[in-house]
Symmetry: C2
Subunit: 381 residues, 2 copies
């Protein structure tokens, strides 16, 4: 055992009776979730978007930052921020979700960042499309993966690393992929990848590499830690598993009424009550949301907002903002009568995927899109 192994232990699953540790709590305090009432905003206000930072937020100087494109390309490139800002500018409204969202609700619980259901957010990302840059560099015909390197440095399960994540070249060349330098109309904040990050609409957050310094084209599959070890759906430690990729469908419900401070249980007055929220999928457009107010015994369809609401861009862009990869609002008009209720919603997308009502367990705790449960007490004053 090396000295580094002493402070960086292998991944594991909690014992059946093992509660949340102080290590998991420390991650929960750093990496914050969307407060569920913030589902009310089409675009998540700054500071309420979820955050997952593997190591430390790096301290980068935007004026001296450069991006290098190299590997299996004909013409390696190095660009500074000014050069990137001179290129075509695009804004997309994109919902991002952490691949580990829902992990702490799994039984048994994989021990890592202990997300409940709220590791999500929607922002307007402004930047320049990646594909034309890769074409200018001249991606070789033997290209397989494109590796994105961030400036955040740390150690994880014994491996010291800059955060690096590979993407198949076909995904990297999609029109929608952006090198983003603004979020919601202002320069990226340090915690969201300033001065430059990747945005891969439809994919879980691990693909959207922050504090981007290098893009390298490989003639093989990337076998770095975040692709080959972490972010794989495995049944057990020996299973090679499959990579985590696109976001599974999920609906979240904006809890109605008002909360109890400690339990976060909701109190709702008897009478008409709008049950509403957001739904999204990285595979295909959301085609339906169903709601239950009786803990899953019966499901009724919710009303889905139009796919392209044509809202003004929060970023101040003159053009309509592409929101194909953003969440959609849904609502259901409920008549609340006194009693205790468990409310849930489940999303279906055009690929036929439906949110499960049994947990989709895997050893890393990834892509757990089990339906959310919102506990409600309907009571008069």
């Amino acid at each position: 055992m090396t000295a580094l192994d002493e402070v960086s232990r292998p991944g594991r699953v909690a014992e059946p009776d093992e509660a949340i540790s102080l290590e998991e709590l420390a991650l929960a305090a750093r990496n914050h979730a969307l407060p569920l009432e913030a589902l009310r905003y089409d675009v998540t206000p700054v500071g309420l978007h979820y955050l997952l930072i593997h190591y430390d937020i790096p301290d980068l100087d935007a004026d001296r930052h450069t991006l290098t494109i190299d590997g299996r390309v004909e013409r390696p490139l190095t660009l500074d921020l000014a050069a990137l800002r001179e290129r075509p500018r695009v804004t997309r409204r994109v919902t991002l979700e952490c691949a580990g969202n829902g992990r702490a609700l799994l039984t048994p619980r994989p021990v890592s960042q202990p997300w409940l259901s709220e590791a999500v957010g929607t922002a307007e990302w402004t930047g320049t499309p990646l594909a034309p840059l890769l074409r200018e560099a001249g991606v070789g015909p033997d290209a397989v993966d494109v590796v994105f390197t961030g400036a955040d440095h740390g150690i994880e399960r014994g491996i010291e690393q800059d955060y690096q994540r590979g993407l198949p070249v076909s995904e990297a060349l999609r029109d929608e992929v952006l090198l983003a330098y603004e979020m919601n109309g202002v320069p990226l904040l340090p915690q969201h990848g300033a001065p430059l990050r990747l945005v891969v609409p439809g994919w879980y957050g691990m693909a959207h590499v922050k504090w981007l310094t290098r893009i390298s084209v490989l003639d093989r599959e990337f076998d770095g830690y975040q692709n080959a070890v972490a972010y794989r759906v495995r049944t057990d430690a020996d299973d090679p598993g499959v990579p985590v990729t696109r976001i599974e469908p999920r609906a979240l419900l904006q809890p109605p009424g008002f909360p109890d401070f400690m339990s976060r249980t909701r109190v709702v007055r008897p009478g008409p009550c709008t049950v509403e929220g957001r739904a999204w999928s990285g595979h295909a457009p959301v085609t339906g949301v169903e709601v239950t107010t009786d803990g899953g015994a019966t499901w009724v369809p919710a009303e889905l907002a139009p796919a392209r609401p044509g809202q003004a861009a929060a970023s101040g862009e003159a053009e309509a903002v592409d929101d194909r990869w953003a969440w959609r609002r849904w609502r259901y008009e409920w008549t609340a009568t006194p009693g205790r209720y468990t409310l849930s919603a489940r999303a279906t997308d055009a690929s036929g995927r439906v949110q499960p009502i049994e947990q989709p367990w895997n050893r890393g705790g990834f892509a757990n899109n089990l339906v959310q449960r919102v506990e409600v007490l309907v009571a008069a004053e």
Copy 2:
């Protein structure tokens, strides 16, 4: 037992072997802390400042929002935001800390928002001083407390309430107290109290009422929940206790080197290593910070930055910003040699208060300024 009591239970202290519950975890996911590397910033970037929201973030319309000043005043007033913005404008750099900071590190642990050490942040708050407004309203000679009401509504330990907190009239009339409508040069974000909040430099966060709707002058001590029940330092449930008021001195250390993802233990290379951080107190200026690299066996003085660094205001104010109530930077040059270390820092202020090295336990888990412990492995590559 009423229906509301079912979902809103009394305060309690965890059993000796009771780990963090899912309820505590849910609060940790909502109410985020300062990532410790963000101690590098004089003014905390938006989204990294700590947040404690008792109920839900309210959905308020700045254009229709009004503030009412009433109670024991000669001339009750109602003002909108435009009227407040026309009044004298002041910016102050203020460090805010949650009164519950450090709670989850107490033994036994009071069950509430489970803060570790990082519920703090420093912002530039811009607004108009409160005292002249109270004088215009004509505070009666029999005034005792001033009650500030926020628009956030919920239930806490069985009591349904809008968040309300009283301040002694002498504190409310201090020159430094602000009605703030901007933070770091932009309008308040929803989670920080938009469109209007109170800022009471030197006091713990519970006094800085967000989403401010009403200021009422009383001829008696305010006996509402947040003053008479919560936010009191008590030895046990029967102790009437004393109110939580000003921030106790604390130093926090910006963890050196780089972290392990899961344990957050730091890895530092052998050689010169700057150990630095911030220190503050709400009672009096910080006069000294001491550092230990041997788990508290010996303490050595750190170098304190000048009290008034004269930094340019982040808010873009032309005038120098008052930073008497902001944290001060400190540093200590360490020579790291291979091994395991526990680093800590402790602050002393001009009132003679020193950070304790034994936990200052109380039943609500308030004002726990026990010294932070940062675990470090010094190892070559």
